[in-house]
């Protein structure tokens, strides 16, 4: 199989971070990213970015208790 270059690796950043590449490919990309001074920080940044988006967007929006009670009353 052809060796992965940076362009290949960068193109797959989302699929990789989303856990959507098959295992052989995953290990190839992982090995490249660990070694590569260009791809490594880019991967790390995207990983942190998605993490921060998730953390921030999940902050402070639990379902209000009054709404929860109203919903379950619909079942009665």
């Amino acid at each position: 199989m052809r060796h992965l270059d940076c362009e290949d690796v960068l193109r797959e950043v989302w699929s990789y971070l989303d856990g959507e590449v098959e295992e052989t490919r995953f290990l190839e990309i992982q090995a490249h990213v660990e070694e590569c001074a260009g791809c490594g920080p880019r991967y790390e940044f995207q990983r942190r970015l998605i993490m921060i988006i998730q953390t921030r967007a999940r902050q402070g929006y639990p379902i209000p208790e009054t709404l929860r009670q109203r919903l379950f009353r619909l079942l009665e």
Binding site: W14, G19, L49, I50, A57, R58, Y61, I63, L71
Partner: protein, 215 residues
Amino acid sequence: MIGVLAVPQQESAAVAEDRERFTALITEHLDGLFRTALRLTRNRANAEDLLQETFLRAWRSFHTFKPGTNARAWLYRILMNAHIDAYRRTTREPDIVDQDDVDEFYLYSKVQESDEFRRAGNPEEALLSQLMEADVVGALEDLPESFRAVVVLADIEGFSYKEIAEVLDIPIGTVMSRLHRGRRQLQVKLWDFARRAHYVRADGNAPSTPGGAGR
């Protein structure tokens, strides 16, 4: 008379059991469903209505749910369909403009090119730690609806591509292209917010130093 009375009693026992099973199934997903309803409708009152409609539809079609299958995907699918029925018909989707000059690493490149952020020592972390809840929510809500749904399901709710395809009833390839384009647009928005916040702080108060938060 006894026979007549006995039937409804049996029925209500079955209904009570269903109600119990339904409650157990939906309870743990209510926070996520409400949060998603807020992001989809961008409006608290409409989000509450949407959640109520979702709840009722789920209850009504509970008998079609197969135990052991993906309850979360089933519930989000009902939410998405209820949303489409209620809102998408009345609001016209703005034309989707793809920015050709934007790539997957837009935000990273912007930070690297910025003298302001480079002065922070760790420019990437300086930017990321500056992004607040309001910035992220604002950027999400600015996304075109079809991108927003996919980004919310993937990045906030943590669904896999296959599950999103199921929830939205679209092919996996479409999930991927909307997700990637959505994330690109999100980065453009986040850069606007971050830069604005940074300039404001540079003019007035000193920017807070994050001091290597994260791992």
